[in-house]
Subunit: 201 residues, 4 copies
C-alpha cells in the first residue's frame, strides 16, 4: 500500500524557477520576517505558480533551508577547515569572533533566526538543518580539537563534542535570548575559560 504519489521528475525541473524561488524566499524573509512570509508571496515574487513550490518543497521552512544552504555555499568558498596555527586559543578566538560577526550581520540574522525557530519546534526540519548546515561546521571544531589533544595542548580525556558545545553553546544562548550583547570580548572570555577547563592534567 505504497501509493505515495508519483514523485516529480527531477530532470525536467526548471533551474531558473528554483533559483528565483530561493532568492525570493531570502528577500522576503529579510523584508517582512519569517512569520509573515507566505508561500503565495514567494510564488508571486518569483513569478512562479504556487504548485511549483509545493511540488519540490514540503514547507516554507524547507524552502528557506535550501535558500540558506545556497547562501552559505556562496559565502563558504573554501572555509572547509578551521585555522591551525598551533595556538589553539588564538585559532578558536579567530573562529568564534567570526561567528559573532556573522550572527550580528543582518544578512544572516533573519534567515538564521527563522530556521532556528522552526528547528526548535519541528524535529524533521531540525534534522535536515543539522545535517546540511550545522554538523559540517561542528565537525571542523572536532577535527581542530582532536589535533590539539594529539599535540598535548588539550586534555585527551575530554570528548571534543562536549568541548565544542562549551564554545558555541554560550554564543548561541546569547544570540537566541538576547540577554547580553554578543561581542568579540565575550567570545574571547568563553574561549579562555573553556580552554582553562581543557588544560591537560
Amino acid at each position: 500500500m505504497a501509493t505515495t504519489k508519483t514523485p516529480p521528475d527531477a530532470n525536467r525541473r526548471s533551474e531558473r524557477s528554483r533559483r528565483a524561488i530561493l532568492e525570493a524566499a531570502l528577500e522576503l524573509t529579510g523584508e517582512t520576517g519569517y512569520q509573515r512570509l507566505t508561500i503565495e508571496a514567494i510564488a508571486a515574487r518569483a513569478g512562479v505558480g504556487k504548485q511549483t513550490i509545493y511540488r519540490w518543497w514540503p514547507s516554507k521552512a524547507a524552502v528557506l533551508l535550501d535558500a540558506f544552504v545556497a547562501l552559505g555555499e556562496d559565502a563558504a568558498e573554501g572555509h572547509h577547515e578551521l585555522p591551525d596555527t598551533g595556538d589553539l586559543e588564538a585559532d578558536l578566538k579567530t573562529v568564534l569572533r567570526a561567528t559573532v560577526d556573522e550572527l550580528n550581520s543582518p544578512r544572516y540574522d533573519a534567515p538564521s533566526r527563522a530556521l532556528a525557530a522552526e528547528s526548535i519546534a519541528n524535529p524533521d526540519l531540525c534534522a535536515q538543518f543539522t545535517r546540511a548546515v550545522l554538523e559540517p561546521q561542528l565537525q571542523l571544531y572536532v577535527t581542530r580539537l582532536r589535533a590539539a589533544q594529539e599535540a598535548g595542548q588539550a586534555d585527551p580525556d575530554v570528548d571534543p563534542r562536549i568541548a565544542l558545545e562549551l564554545l558555541v553553546g554560550p554564543l548561541a544562548h546569547r544570540w537566541m535570548l538576547r540577554t547580553q550583547p554578543l561581542t568579540h570580548a565575550y567570545a574571547d572570555s568563553v574561549v579562555e575559560i573553556t580552554l582553562r577547563g581543557l588544560t591537560p592534567r
Copy 2:
C-alpha cells in the same frame, strides 16, 4: 489626544476565565503542538469568547507565556535559591541534572519549545520571557557563583554572568538542536569542565 483605545478595566477581569484560558492553552500546546494551536481552539476549550483572549493578550505567544509562568509558579514552591552545601560542583550538578530532567519532561517540553521558538523571532516576547522566566533563574546562578568566589572556590576575576552561560548554554544548545541526547552525564561533564576553567589561579 494620544489615547487610541480605552484599555480594559483590569478590576473587572474574570479570574475564572483567565485560569481556564491558561489551562486550555497548555493542554492544547501539549496535544497538537504550538504551530497548530489556534486562538479559536483555546477559546472553545476554555469555554470563553475569543474577544476575552484578544482583550487581555496581544498574541497566542503571550497567552502561552503567561500559562508557562503560572506553570512555573506552581512548580517553584520555594525553590527561590540554588542549594549551597559548600561544594560548588555537587550543587551545580544537582541543579543542572534537574534542569535536564525538566527539559526532558513532556509537560514542560512543548510550551518551552514554543516560547523559545517565538522568542528567537520576536524580540518583544523574548524580552518578556527573559524578564518573567529566565532572568530570575539566571540570577540564582549569579548569587551562588558569587558565594563560591567569596569562599575562594572560584576565580573572582570571572564574570558570573559569563560563567553561568558556560553552564546553561551547552544544555540549551543540545535541547534546542537535538544534536545529542541530553543526559545527567552530559550535565556532569559540562559542570566539571567549566569548574576546572574557573579554578582560582
Copy 3:
C-alpha cells in the same frame, strides 16, 4: 409557571435617557443607514448604557419605530382628519401631493425605509407599525371616502378600504421600488383615474 422576568418599573424610567435614545436612533439612521445602525452606537451616542435600551425595547427596529412615532407626533399637530371642501378630487390631490412631498423629504425617507424594510420581513414589527402609524392615517381616507359616498360623489358599493389602496398603493410602489420619479403629477393622475373608477353608476 409564569416567571417571565419582573418587568421594569415604568415610573422610574428616565425621560432624559428615553429622549436621548430616540434622538440618537434617528440621527444615526440618517447618517449611516439602518443596516449599519447598531444598538451599541445608539447607546454610545445617547450616553446611555446598553442595558437601558434592552430594558425598554425588544429590538433596534422597535426603537426606531418609537422614534418615528415621536417624529410623526411633532409633525402631525392637528392633522387628524383629511380636508373636506366638498370637492373630493381636489381634496385627495392635496393629500396625496403632501404624501409625495413627505416621501421625498430626506428627514422622513431614511427611517421610513428602515421601518418598511423591517415590516416586510418581520410580521410583529409590521403589526406594531401598522397599528401605531399606518392605520390611523388610512382611517382618515376611509372617513373621507365614506363622506363622499354619502354625498353621492362616489359609488357606494365600493369598499373604501379598497378604494384607498388604489390611491396609496401606487405611490408606495413607486417609492419603494424607485421605478419612476414620485411627483405631484403622478399623484394627480392616480387620483383622477381612481375617481373615474369610483363614479356613481
Copy 4:
C-alpha cells in the same frame, strides 16, 4: 494606475459551485428566514469555501437575487406575454389572481420578502432587482394595455405605466403591510375599479 484588484476570471468559474450556492441560499432562506441567513451557512450547506461566494457576489442579497432569478427562469417557461383573449378585464383578473397565488405561496414568499426588504434600503440592489425581475414583468402589462387601447377598450390618453401601477400597487401594498388578506376577490375588485377608470371617454 486604477486597477485596485484583479477581477476573477469568469471562464474558470465552477458551474457546480454556482448552482450549489444558489440552491443552498434558497433553501436556507426558506428554512430560517433572510435575517438569520448567513454567508457561512450558505457555504457550509453548499459544500463550498466562503471565498468562493465572496469572489463572485458582493453581498448575501446579491446571492439571493441571483437565486431568485434562477428560480423565476425555471418557473417562467414561456410565460413571456400576458394572455390576450380580447377581454381585457378577464385577462387582467387571470393574471392578478395568479400573482396573488404566487405572493401567497411559501416558495416565493420568503425570498420575495427578503429581496423587497433589501431593495427598499439598498438602491443598488433595487436597481438590479428591478432590471432583472420586475421590469420584464411590468413590460408585459404595458404591452397588453397598449393592445387594449388600440382596440378601443381603454382610454388612449392614460399612460400604461400609470395604469399598471394602479393594478399591481394595491396588491403589493397589501402583501407588504399585511393590512388585509390578499385574495382573488381583492384582485378582481382592483381590476374592476381600475378598468372603470380607464373606460374610453
